[in-house]
Amino acid sequence: MKKIIFTIFIILIFSLPIFAQTTEFLTPFTYISARIYGFGGALTANPTGFEGLFFNPAGYALPSNNHFGLIDLNFYFNPDLLNLIQQTNGFQNMDTMLTDSNFVSQLLKMKLGIGLSGLPFIGIMSGGLLIALYDSAGLSAAFIPTVAIPDVKISAVAEAGAVVGYSFKIGNFLYIGANAKIIARAWADIPQQSLTSLIDSFSSGEGNLPFTVKFGYGFGFDAGALLKLGSLQIGFSVLNIPGIKIDYVESNKIDELINGSLTSTGTAYIPVQINAGVALNLGTFIPVIMDKVVLAMDIHSVNLLIEDFSEYGFNMSLIGNYFYFGAEFRTLGILTIRGGLYQGYPTVGFTLNLLIAKLSFAYYTKELGMFPGTLPESNFIVTLSLSW
């Protein structure tokens, strides 16, 4: 136990100088998946399936955690977008709807979020070994009212990665695992500006975008442990060791981006992320109707939470941005129902398991602001996967 505490301490110490030197800080990545969001993101102590690789590599050696995946197509979108499509009959009645002042008011307040991940998700998990390739991309936009033209705030990020991991069991209770991974990330720094300025910049840009696109590679490691004591599981993981350094190239010139002839360079970091969680495998409640019942709770980025405490003072509400809570059970042998709290916001979802094809859905809300409850973004997510 002393060795484990010492190891955690060393990782924290090594991660701190990286934060101090960081010129650009990238948000740790969350893979877009209906199972992850439907379960409230609490997978550190319940790292089963391919989703587990993003939370705790110690799970690969868990009994029956053997999988092969080919396709994992995830699509998320904002309810505002769905409302817009419904109200305008697929944009066909847009002209008519613009004569309704309530609709125009709604339109001015709409937030738009869409994203896609993983059409190819090639993975194999067997005997404690994992090999996987993944990709993901997300775009979100919001209008911010001003006295004149509304401002628009856009964020765009895409990530692809290759992961090799291994997990093994020590004694009867403890699982230890690690990943080595290469990450490619592309993102755009789009400053908040008025819609008019943005449109003008596009139309008069002469081959230049009104923002910079950055693209770079980095490599790093994940490590995790899982203590399995009967129905109780305690998980702990350190991701993105030692703070993944992304050496990127950047440009706002469209031809340079297409040709790959970017010359301007910089460095960014994905910080170390320390996660901890507990899960309870409660087994069968009502045979056939309610079995494989699991409850789980996570605190993600414990190190960043500690930084927040040191910056803003100890405030319980700060925990909300790092708190994840989930529950799921299987019914009729083919349907898994989920619910949870993602950063304090409710989530619901399900997976319909049809042999090798799985259809999943989730509704979730995540926090985009500095404090819980500041700037929530709600999304629907649909996942179609082929895996067994």
Partner: protein
């Protein structure tokens, strides 16, 4: 089994509460006061503005106004703080609902034979088809908030002349403030008499003319900044050119 049931009930209990509010949500005041750096305070205010909750907007306006009065912000942060307070006040005023009414009226009348009745569309806030006293009171309240906002936005615009988005916001806000000055005067019989005396050459210049002149000066200043810093051919340059021509016509 009993223990497991208790766990499930606890989960359902917490989940039910979270459906009505975020269990971790702190007050805007406590969150704002825990932020130490001025630039982060402004970023937090931007996030509140983007979320659009009216109660939170009212709270953050008061907090920012206090901090501006207490010299918490300086330099570019002060300009940004003034701009965000101005826009928060505008969001709080319901200005966007009036804009939505105007857009709707213009689009509805396109292709039709009737001219758009913008006055009715804008002022008829309760949608009953006629302009009543309550409509006028609501409009007056909104316009006076716009005038307050104009003071903040003008401060910001003077400190950051290269920001053409901000300059255009200043044009609109000062125009609204000038309209408020005029409408306030026209609804006050004493002020009307003073104005008539001034026109007849039998009385001094009323204060409101000076106020309107200040608004017009602010507009002209921002128009010049837009002409200097907006690239030719852009929306802002064209608008500034048009306004500049208009002012040239007013001041031969």
């Amino acid at each position: 089994m009993k223990k497991n049931l208790i766990f499930i009930l606890i989960f359902i209990f917490i989940f039910s509460f979270s459906c009505t509010f975020n269990l971790f949500e702190g007050s805007v005041e406590s969150n704002y006061k825990s932020i130490k750096t001025p630039s982060e305070k402004i970023e937090y205010a931007r996030q509140i503005l983007a979320a659009g909750d009216p109660e939170k907007i009212k709270t953050i306006i008061a907090l920012l106004e206090d901090d501006i009065d207490n010299d918490v912000f300086s330099g570019p942060d002060l300009a940004a703080a003034n701009q965000i307070v101005g826009n928060l006040i505008i969001a709080d005023s319901g200005f966007n609902d009036y804009i939505a009414n105007a857009i709707t009226e213009i689009i509805s009348s396109q292709g039709g034979e009737e001219e758009p009745n913008l006055m009715l569309a804008i002022l008829d806030s309760n949608g009953d088809g006629e302009i009543t006293d309550s409509d006028m009171d609501a409009f007056g309240e909104m316009m006076s908030q716009l005038a307050d906002a104009a003071n903040y936005i003008n401060e910001a615009a003077e400190a950051d002349p290269t920001n053409v988005d901000l300059q255009f916001q200043n044009v609109i806000a000062n125009f609204a403030a000038a309209v408020v000055n005029i409408s306030d005067t026209l609804s006050d019989t004493t002020a009307q008499e003073q104005f008539q005396d001034y026109l007849d050459g039998t009385g001094p210049e009323p204060d409101f003319i000076l106020n309107i002149q200040t608004n017009l000066d602010n507009i002209q200043g921002s128009v010049q900044n837009m002409l200097s810093y907006a690239p030719e051919g852009t929306f802002y340059y064209d608008i500034a050119q048009m306004l500049n021509d208009m002012f040239a016509g007013l001041n031969p």
